[in-house]
Symmetry: D2
C-alpha cells in the first residue's frame, strides 16, 4: 500500500507555513488539540466492500484532508490583507459566511484589514465604479439576522487579469470567494494568473448553491433554509388546490440541473402528487404522460399538487435557440409557465373546468435569512475557510463529507455536479410518497 | 328627537323571537348580562361636531345595532338545520369562521344539524354533483390550524331559484354565507326569493375580502394575516434589490379596487420606495412619471423597491377589451407583468443595466392559516353570526365598527366599497414613508 | 349646548404655536388636508342612547382631540433638542416607537438633535454615569427588527428635580417618555416641576403596558405580539398535557392587574380549560374550587390546560407582608409556583398520579420584536407623539380610541386602569370557550 | 482478511425471510434497485489512517448494515399485526415517526392492523386501563403538523412479562418502540423474554432523545427543531440582558448528560457569554470561577448571557441524597434556580445592582412540531424501521451514520452515551465564540 496521496484530493499550497498560530489568549481556554494536520484525512467512500476491494488491489482509497486550524500559518497576520466577494444569485447564509470569516480573521488571527468587494466580480473592475467596504466586527456582528448579501452580488464573468490587477493593487493575501460553479471556475483561473505572476495570494472558495448540486459536497449552505420555506409554498398550493373543484396547485422551485429542493421539499410536506425534476424526463401526452395522469388524479380526488424544478422538462424546448445569461449559464425556458399553459389548454379542449394556482416563491426563498441550522453550518464553513487561507492553502473550497468539514481542491469539484440519483433512496422515496409513477411512455430499460 | 331607527341600518327579521335562549348550564358561569337588545346601538359617526350638528337639526344620528346573543330566539334548536357556504377566493380565517359557527350552534344552542355546502354556490346545484358535508365539533375542532376552506369554494353566480330550491329540499332554517361583495349581492337575491316563497329562512353573511374593502366594516378578517406575510415578501424583494447593482424588487400584492394591503404592508416593512394602488393614478413617462423617478432613485441609491396592488394602473389598459371572470368581476390586466416589461425596456433603451426581481406572493398569502389576532376576530364573527341567525334576523352581515361587533343590513354595504382616502392618514403616511411624491405630470388641483 | 371643552380632555399647551409647519418638499406629495385642528374631536362614548340622553340634558358629550400634525408649531426645529426615554419592563414595539419618533423629527421637522436617555429614569441622574446616545436615522433605521429597547430601561422612580435639572442642562424642548403607569405619573410630576421653573419644555407620553391595561386606550402597543407568542406557549402546554396520563399543562402569562393577555390568548388558542385572571377571585377548595374542578376534568378527559395571569389569586397571599419592587409596584406573589405546589399536593394526597408541566414564557414574550401589526401601530404612535410635541402640547399621551389616534391628557388616564369586565363580551366568551364555570363556592349575587 | 462480520454490529433476525416483497404497483415507478442486501455495509470509522492500520493488522473494520427495504420479507402482510409505542419525554418528531410507520405499513406492505399503545409502557399493562388506538392513514395523515405524541407517553419501566403477555394476547408480529435509552434497555429485555417464549415477534427501536446523546447515532430526530427554538430563547434573554443596567439573561436548556443543545444553540445565536454543560465542570468562586468572570463581564459590557444545560454543575449537589424519577433516571437538581440564587446573593453582597431574567423554555421546545428538516428525517427513520421489521430483523434501532441510514443492534448502543468532546471542534468553537475560558481554578493538565 503506497503512502502517496492521490493527486486529485491534494491541496495546493503557497509555500511552507512557518509562523506559529497565535494561541488564543489562555483565558479563552481553547486546546492545542484542536489543531489538525494535513495528514488527518477521512475516507471519501464508506462502502465497506468497495474500500476493502481497493485495498486488496493495492490501491489507496481516496481521502479528503480535514479542514480546521493548523499549528503553523503562512501569512503574517499583522501585515495581511484579505478580500471577500459574493457572486451569483442570492442564497440564505451569505451574510453568515461573511460574518464568520470577518470575525475569525479579526479575533482569532488578529487580521485587521478585510475588504468586502461589492457586487460580485464587478467590484474588482474599476470601470464599474463600485466602492470597497472595509469590514470589521461592528459591521458584521448582526448581519446574520438579514437575508441577502451585505456586499451585493452580480452574475457573469469579468476579465481575470483585471481581477488579479485589482488584488495586487490592494495587496491582498487571501481572497475568499463565495459563489457557485461559475465562480469556482473563475477562482481556478485567478489561481493560474496568480501563479504566472508569482504572487503570494491564496484563493479559498466557499461553495454556494441553493440547488445543493456541488459535486462532492454533501450539503451546501442555505439548502435547509430553502426547504423550510419551500414547504410553506407547497402548503399554500395544496390549500389552493383543495379550495376549488378540480383545483391544481403548481409550485415552481429552484433547481436548474438538480432536483434536490423539489424532491426534499416534497418529502417535507407530503401534499405533492407530481414532482418534476431535471434529472428525469417526462412526457406530457400519451397514456403515461403528465396530462393524462393529472386528469386521472383530478377525477379521483378533485385536486392535485405539482412541484416543478425550474430545470425540469427542458427537452420540450429543444428546438428553440439556446440563450445564455450574464454568468454564461444556459437560460432556462420557463417550464412553470409552459406547463400552466399546457394544462390549461388540455382541459379546455376536454371542456373540463379546472382552476390552476401558480406559485413561484423563488425570490422569497433566495432572500431569506439562514435558519439556525444553516447559521451553525455557515459559521464552520467561514472559520475553516479562514484556517485554510491562513495556512497558505489555495485553489480549494471548504466541503462537508461524512459529517466532517474538509478541504477540497477546486479542480476536483468545479464543472461537475451532484444530481438526484433516479434509483437512489431520495427519489425512490419521492415516488412512493407521491405515487406518481414513471411519467413516460417509453418502456423502462 | 325621534325614536325611530333610520331605515338603512334597521335589521330585517323573520318574525317575533319567542323561544327563550337556553341558558348555558349554570356551571359554565355565563351571565344574563351578556344578552344584548336590539335597542343597544352605537353611533356610526364619532366626529363630535358632525353629530352635534345633526342633533341640532333634529336629525337622528345613524346607528348600528350591537351584535350578540338575544334573550329570545326565533328558531327551535331541536328542529333547526343550518347550512354554511364559503365563496370566492381563499382568505386566511375561513376555517376559523366555520369552526366558530359550528361550535356555537352545537354547544351553545344545541343545534345538531349543520351542513357544509361544498365548493361555494356550485354546491347548491345538483348538476355539479358535489356532496354535502355534515359538520360537527369533531370535524372542525382543529381546522383553524390550516389555511384554505375545508368546504372549498368557487367563483361566479349560480341560479338563485335553484339555490333556494336546494335550501328548501334540505329544510334549512339559517344559511351562513361567507363571501365577498358578489356573495353578499347573491345573499340579498336569495332573501328576495325566500320572501316570495314565504319561507322561514334566515340568511346571515360574514363579509370576506382579503382586500379589506367592505363598506362600513372597519377591518375584515384575514387582512392582518395577509399583511404579516406581505411584509415577508417586501423584505425579500428589498434584499434582492440590494443584492445587485441597480437592483429593482417588485412585489405584486392583492387589492383589486382598494390598496389597503399594499399601503399597510408598506408601513409594516418600510423598505418600499414606490407604492401603487388602484385609488391613485400614476404616469409612467414624463418628469414625474414612475420610470423617471425610478431612474433617479437608482442613480442615487442603486436599488429600489416597488409595491403594486393588482388593481393599480388599470388606466393603462383602457383601450383593451374588458373581460370578466366567473364571478362577474372585471378581469384585471396584469399590472405587475406590464410594469416589469415597461421598466425593462425603459432601461434597455437607456443602456442602463438593471436587475428586476418580481415576487407575486398572492397564493401563498391567501392560503395561510389565520394568525392569532385573526383567530380571535373570526371567533367573534362566527359566534355573532349564529346569535343573529338564531334570533331570526336576516339579510345582514356581522360588521365591526368603533371596536364593537354590529349587525349591518346587507343592502347598506353591498355594492359599495371602502377605499384608501388619498388625503387621509394612511396614504399621507405612506407618502411620507416612501417619499415617492405624486407620480403624475398633471398639476394637483 | 355649550361649546366649552370638558376640562378633563383638554390638552395643556406651552403657548401659542406660531411657526408654520414646514411643508414637506412638494415632491413628497403630501396634502395640506392632513393637518388636524384642535377642534377635530371624536366622541368618547358611542353608546347612542347615552349620548342622546346627555344632549337632551344639555350636557356636552366628552370628546378626545384628534392626534396628528398641526399647521402651526410651537418649537423652532432648527434650534430644538429632544430627548427620549424608555422605562419599566420590556415590551414588543419599544424600538419601533423610538424609530418612528427619531425619523419623524429628523425628516419631517428637520430636528437634528435627538438624545436617547439610557436605562430609563436612571439615565437622567449623573450618579449612575450612564451616557447619552445621539440618535439619528442611521442608528434607528433597522432597530424595529429587534426586540428590547436600544436605550435600555430600568424600574423605579428617580428624583424629579434632578430629572428636570438634567433636561435643562441639555436644553431639551420635548421629552418623549415611553412607559407604563408609573412613568406617566412621573411625567405629570415632571410637568409640574417644569411649570414651577417656567421652562418651555413639553412632555409627551407613549403609554406602554404589555398588559393592555391603560385606561381610555383601546389597545396598547405590543399586546398583539404578546398574544401571538402566548398562543405558542398554550399549544405547547396542551401537547404536554395530552402527552401523559392525567397531564396538566400550566402557563403563567403576564397580567398584574388585568387579564387581557390571558383571556385573549385563551380565545386565540382554544385548548384552555381554566383561565385565572386578577379581576375574578377563585377558590381552590370546595365543590366549585379549582382543585375539585380540575380533578373532575382529569377524570373525564385525562388532561387539562390552565392559564394563569401573574396577578391572579393574590387573595391567597393576604396574610403575607406586602413587598414592593423598585418601581413601587406591589410585588406579586408567584401564583404560578403556588398553584403548581397546591395541585401537586392535592393529587398526592388523593394518590392520583398526575404530571404537571409548567411554562412561564414571560421573558420570551417581553423581548420579542413587534409583529407587523404592532409595527404599523407603533409608527403612528411615534409620529403623532412628535406632532403633539412640536405643536407645543404637553402632559399628554397618544391614545387610540374608536379607531382614531387621539391626544389624551395624562391626568385623565394615569392612576386608573382598564380591566376585563367579568360581565362583558370578552370574559363571557372565555367562559363559553373553556366551560370553566364560576370557580367559587359563594353564591353569585 | 476475514469475511466474518464483527459480532457487535450484526443484526439479529427471527428467521429466514422467504416472502417476496410485493412490488409496488408498476404505476408507482419504483425501482428494484432500491432493495438493499444485508451485505451492503458502510464503514463506521472514516479516519483513513486508522482504517488502513486496522487492515494492515488483518482486522476487519467495523461496519454497519444499511437500512432499507429487503427483497424478501419474513412476515406475511395479510396476517401481520403491528404495535407502536412512544415512551419518555416529548420530543419534536414523534408524530412524524408514527405517521411514517403507519403509512409505510399500510400502503407499501399492505399491513392493515396497526395498534397504537397509549401512554408509553403503561399502555401494555391492563391495570392502567388505557385503550388501544387503531391506526390507519386517515388518523395519521395530518398529525405531523402537531407537536407531542398522539399516543401519549409515560416515564418509567413496567413489568416485562406483562408487556410480552399483552403483545401475545394482541398477536403482534412487530413492535415499534420510540424512546430513549431506558426504552432501548426495556426493548432488549422484551426481546429476551420473547426468545424465552419462542415467539415470532420483532422489536424495532427508533431512538428518541432531544439531547442528541444516542451512542453511534450522528443526530437524533427533533434535535434540529429544538435548536431552532432554543435560539429564540437566547435572543430573548439577550434583549432582556441588554435592557437593564447589569442585566443578566439566563437560559436553561435541555441536556441531562450531554450539552449538544446548549453548545449548538450558542453557535446558532451567538449572543452567549457563558455556556455550561454537563461534560465540563466549572467553579463558582475563585479567580476563574463563573461569578468572578461574570462580574468582570458586567463591568466591561454591562450585560451578560448565560446558557446552562440542565445536567451541568451537578457536582454542586454531591452532598445531597440522590433521587430518581419514574424512569429510573437520576433526578437532576435544578442548576438553573441554583445559579440564579448564587448570582443574586453574590452581587447582593457586593452591593452591585444586577437584574436577572431567567428563561426555561424546555416544555415549549419539547412540545413543538418538527421542522421540515426533521420531518424528512423522521420519515426515513419510520420507513426504514418498517423495512427492518418486515424483514424479520429484531433487537435493533434505525441509526444514521456517515449520511446513511443504518441498522444498529440495540446492545451496541444502549447504556452508552454520546457526549460533547471538550477538545473537539464543537466545544472548541463554543469557547472561541463565547470567550468564556476555563471556568475552573484547577490548572488544566
Amino acid at each position: 500500500m503506497s503512502d502517496s496521496k492521490p493527486i486529485e484530493t491534494h491541496i495546493e499550497s503557497l509555500g511552507e507555513a512557518k509562523i506559529k498560530t497565535l494561541l488564543l489568549d489562555d483565558s479563552i481556554g481553547t486546546s492545542k488539540e484542536m489543531f489538525k494536520s494535513d495528514k488527518d484525512r477521512i475516507l471519501i467512500d464508506v462502502n465497506a466492500e468497495a474500500v476493502l476491494e481497493q485495498i486488496k488491489n493495492q490501491q489507496t482509497p481516496t481521502t479528503f484532508e480535514l479542514a480546521g486550524p493548523r499549528e503553523k500559518i503562512y501569512f503574517d497576520p499583522s501585515k495581511l490583507k484579505c478580500a471577500l466577494v459574493t457572486c451569483g444569485g442570492l442564497c440564505p447564509g451569505l451574510n453568515n459566511v461573511i460574518r464568520a470569516i470577518v470575525l475569525e480573521l479579526y479575533y482569532r488571527y488578529q487580521v485587521k484589514h478585510v475588504y468586502g468587494i461589492r457586487y460580485g466580480l464587478e467590484g474588482f473592475i474599476p470601470e464599474y465604479g463600485h466602492n470597497l467596504v472595509e469590514l470589521d466586527p461592528d459591521k458584521v456582528v448582526n448581519i446574520h439576522e438579514m437575508g441577502g448579501s451585505i456586499l451585493g452580488s452580480s452574475r457573469g464573468p469579468q476579465d481575470i487579469e483585471a481581477i488579479v490587477d485589482c488584488l495586487e493593487r490592494l495587496n491582498i493575501g487571501i481572497l475568499f470567494m463565495i459563489g457557485g460553479d461559475g465562480t469556482l471556475k473563475a477562482a481556478t483561473k485567478i489561481v493560474e494568473e496568480i501563479k504566472k505572476r508569482n504572487a503570494k495570494l491564496s484563493v479559498i472558495g466557499i461553495p454556494k448553491t441553493i440547488d445543493n448540486d456541488i459535486f462532492r459536497v454533501a450539503k451546501s449552505f442555505g439548502f435547509d433554509s430553502a426547504v423550510d420555506i419551500a414547504t410553506e409554498a407547497i402548503k399554500g398550493a395544496h390549500k389552493e388546490a383543495e379550495g376549488y373543484p378540480n383545483g391544481i396547485g403548481m409550485i415552481k422551485l429552484m433547481g436548474r440541473h438538480s432536483g434536490f429542493i423539489a424532491a426534499t421539499a416534497s418529502l417535507a410536506q407530503q401534499d405533492v402528487n407530481f414532482v418534476l425534476i431535471p434529472e428525469i424526463d417526462f412526457d406530457l401526452e400519451g397514456e403515461n404522460g403528465l396530462l393524462t395522469r393529472l386528469e386521472k388524479r383530478l377525477k379521483e380526488r378533485k385536486h392535485a399538487v405539482i412541484v416543478v424544478a425550474e430545470g425540469a422538462g427542458q427537452n420540450f424546448f429543444q428546438d428553440s435557440t439556446p440563450e445564455y445569461d450574464a454568468s454564461g449559464n444556459l437560460k432556462l425556458y420557463d417550464i412553470g409557465i409552459f406547463l400552466k399553459d399546457k394544462i390549461r389548454s388540455y382541459f379546455y379542449e376536454k371542456s373540463m373546468d379546472v382552476t390552476i394556482k401558480y406559485i413561484d416563491p423563488s425570490y422569497m426563498i433566495r432572500s431569506l435569512p439562514a435558519n439556525p441550522n444553516d447559521h451553525v453550518y455557515c459559521g464552520f464553513l467561514g472559520r475553516d475557510a479562514v484556517h485554510a487561507g491562513m495556512a497558505g492553502k489555495t485553489n480549494m473550497i471548504i466541503g462537508h463529507w461524512n459529517n466532517f468539514f474538509v478541504n477540497v481542491p477546486i479542480p476536483m469539484t468545479a464543472g461537475k455536479r451532484k444530481r438526484v440519483n433516479p434509483k437512489g433512496k431520495l427519489w425512490q422515496t419521492v415516488l412512493e410518497a407521491t405515487g406518481q409513477g414513471n411519467l413516460t411512455n417509453q418502456k423502462p430499460e
